[in-house]
């Protein structure tokens, strides 16, 4: 635990066996190198990182591990996500113990006769599971899940609109090496003990920001009209001065209208602040909105 705590701000020592934490790899400036899920499995920590960042992550983690610790790559595994309010019915039929997994915990279960690391977690704001399975059985498992009446295949578009409505960050869009957890509104992932003790890259920058505030913050944005505003759209105040940029945006099917997230200067970050978005040369009115756009529906015991 201590070895990984030296490079992430998450509280890993508080993790019970099978518990999962969302945390991030930080740099010396407090920027985010990647976000990841860490699960305690006995005397191991099981990490799930972003595929696009994995080579840099592995090098970074490997270079920072203290003696007696080892990073073991698991390239022979695939990850399937089963998400939605009926996920427990679908998976519970194949692996009854899955119904009783608590949110943000994980266990090794058999789904049919396929061994898998099943986590009650996800990237949709809904109840659901993330299932790590040997790659050569992943298609078989996917087909077994698709045979359940509740289950349909979805692509990245559906995943992206769900996570956006749930206010969840996409690495490389909403967070990156130039944004800190404080600016990104991810302070909830840093416990009191870790805030007080530091001991991770950028801890002094982040504790300074906690104390003195930040000049920009990630916020939700609701355009007044129907036009979606997508990533890199400029955000202006009522006088037309640029105050930030959208980092993710599109149409929210659950909200029934366009939704976005982005960074604005802190004085404009309060909910309901009127702003303008520059979309194809037009200034479209919008408002700063609370995140998430749709309430999370995690099943917590």
């Amino acid at each position: 635990m201590a070895a990984l705590e030296a490079i992430v701000p998450g509280d890993l020592q508080a993790l019970g066996d099978g518990q999962i934490r969302y945390t991030m790899l930080t740099n010396e400036q407090g920027g985010i190198l990647d976000d990841l899920m860490v699960t305690r499995r006995g005397d191991h920590l099981f990490l799930i990182v972003n595929a696009a960042c994995k080579d840099a992550d592995f090098a970074h983690i490997g270079a920072n591990l203290s003696k007696g610790n080892r990073l073991e790559l698991m390239p022979e595994r695939g990850l399937l996500a089963l998400q939605g309010p009926e996920a427990a019915d679908a998976l519970g039929r194949l692996a009854p113990a899955a119904r009783h997994l608590d949110f943000m915990t994980s266990d090794t279960l058999h789904i049919g006769d396929i061994p898998a690391i099943v986590s009650r977690s996800g990237y949709s704001g809904e109840d659901g599971y993330e299932i790590s399975v040997e790659a050569d059985r992943s298609e078989e498992l996917a087909r077994m899940l698709l045979d359940q009446p509740e289950v349909k295949p979805v692509g990245l578009g559906a995943r992206d609109s769900l996570r956006l409505e749930a206010g969840l960050c996409l690495y490389g869009a909403d967070i990156d090496s130039t944004t800190t957890p404080v600016e990104a509104g991810l302070l909830w992932s840093i416990s009191k003990r870790r805030r007080a003790d530091g001991g991770y890259p950028g801890a002094s920058v982040i504790s300074g920001q906690i104390e003195n505030g930040v000049s920009r913050k990630r916020v939700g944005i609701r355009p007044d009209g129907k036009a979606p505003a997508r990533a890199h759209t400029e955000i202006m105040d009522m006088e037309g001065s640029v105050i930030g940029e959208i980092t993710s945006g599109g149409f929210g099917p659950t909200v029934g209208g366009p939704v976005a997230m982005g960074y604005v200067s802190t004085e404009h970050a309060r909910a309901d602040t009127g702003i303008y978005l520059s979309v194809r040369g037009k200034s479209l009115p919008a408002r700063v909105a609370r995140l998430p756009f749709t309430p999370h529906r995690y099943i917590k015991s």
Binding site: K226, A227, P228, F251, P258
Partner: protein, 124 residues
């Protein structure tokens, strides 16, 4: 005149010297649920290839480049309130704009319905 199609999946019908332009059934299916349409204002002059409209679906924003040069006579205002009309009736009520035909020869290289069906079949 019978309907014509472009390789960019627009359809064009003509009546006198006015053409009506929209996107094909195939195009709306590729886009998925249309959530926003920006149509051109009447009076706007477009050269062939100019951006004429924007069709946004849940998946992506797609610019519609005018297949004809001319002056816009009407944008389909229905689409501003009911963008999904493009999904329900892409080659009917979901038309996007009408334009004067500035250069009728621009129609010559377009496909008829049979040729377009073959073209789409080749993409699938």
């Amino acid at each position: 005149m019978a309907v014509k199609y472009t390789q960019e999946h627009e359809w064009i019908t003509t009546e006198g010297d006015i053409a009506t332009i929209g996107i094909s059934k195939y195009a709306q299916k590729q886009l998925g649920d249309v959530v926003f349409v920006e149509v051109p204002d009447a009076g706007k002059t477009l050269a062939k290839g100019d951006e004429a409209a924007v069709v946004e679906s849940v998946k992506a924003a797609s610019e519609i480049y005018s297949p004809l040069s001319g002056q816009v006579t009407e944008g389909n205002g229905v689409l501003e309130d009911q963008p999904a009309t493009i999904n329900g009736s892409p080659e009917g009520d979901g038309w996007i704009y009408k334009i004067t035909i500035g250069d009728a020869s621009e129609l010559d290289s377009m496909m008829d319905a049979t040729a377009y069906a073959d073209y789409v079949a080749g993409l699938e």
